[in-house]
């Protein structure tokens, strides 16, 4: 049998709290789990929103100032009330049509496969989140807790 590659570790920082930015860290972490690569994701600042229990409805994508939308919307239109909800609805329709997992599904996959999810305690307090606002089964800690994993990681990413 071919020699197995050496053991690797990965750590990721998730900083952004929009629907689109929630995907890359969760996709990479759940894939890393299939490769037996132990992974930690540290959710800080707006990234905490990815861990909200109501992430299904709370995560949105804004057309305002976002020229990369599949169907770009001029800023003057994007600023109209309701446009963010409309863009989010369209994005979710595309996600469903293409068989892409939802954010809660990816979070579940990560948790089932042992990905370590850390909520930044400082930003939890700063933004006034309560533990019951966030999903169960996560760790709470600060930069030192993240650095403990990051310092022995072969792959470190920030989103």
């Amino acid at each position: 049998m071919e020699k197995m590659p050496e053991q690797k570790k990965m750590s990721i920082i998730a900083i952004h709290g929009t629907l689109d930015m929630a995907y890359p860290p969760l996709i990479l972490a759940s894939t890393a789990a299939t490769l037996d690569i132990p992974t930690t994701i540290f959710f800080t600042f707006y990234g905490l929103n990815i861990l909200r229990k109501d992430a299904t409805t709370s995560l949105k994508v804004a057309p305002l100032g976002n020229p990369a939308m599949p169907m770009p919307v001029p800023n003057i239109i994007g600023a109209i009330p309701g446009m963010t909800n409309m863009a989010t609805y369209m994005m979710k329709s595309m996600i469903k049509k293409h068989g892409v997992a939802t954010i809660p599904e990816l979070i579940s996959l990560c948790q089932e496969t042992g990905v370590k999810l850390i909520a930044c305690q400082m930003t939890v307090d700063l933004f006034g989140f309560k533990k019951e606002d966030l999903i169960d089964g996560i760790d709470y800690g600060g930069a030192a807790m993240y650095m403990e994993d990051a310092s022995t990681s072969d792959i470190t990413l920030a989103f």
């Binding site: 049998m1 590659p5 759940s30 894939t31 789990a33 299939t34 068989g99 997992a101």
Partner: protein
Amino acid sequence: MPLNISKTLDASGLGCPLPIVKTKKEIDNLSSGQILEVISTDPGSKNDMTAWCKRTGNELIEFAEQGGKFQFYVKKG
């Protein structure tokens, strides 16, 4: 010689990373040497499955593509 398939996983219609995640789950239930057939429609899964097998020590013994469907035959390492 026809392949002796132990299990078939239909991942049609699913996008990255689900075909790989589901493949991993099925492979874990097989014994070394058994063959898993995976069907997918995600064009990215062609390169993904090759890379995943290489990295995990499983063997992609056969691949077929027909009408937008991809068939992978993975032998557990």
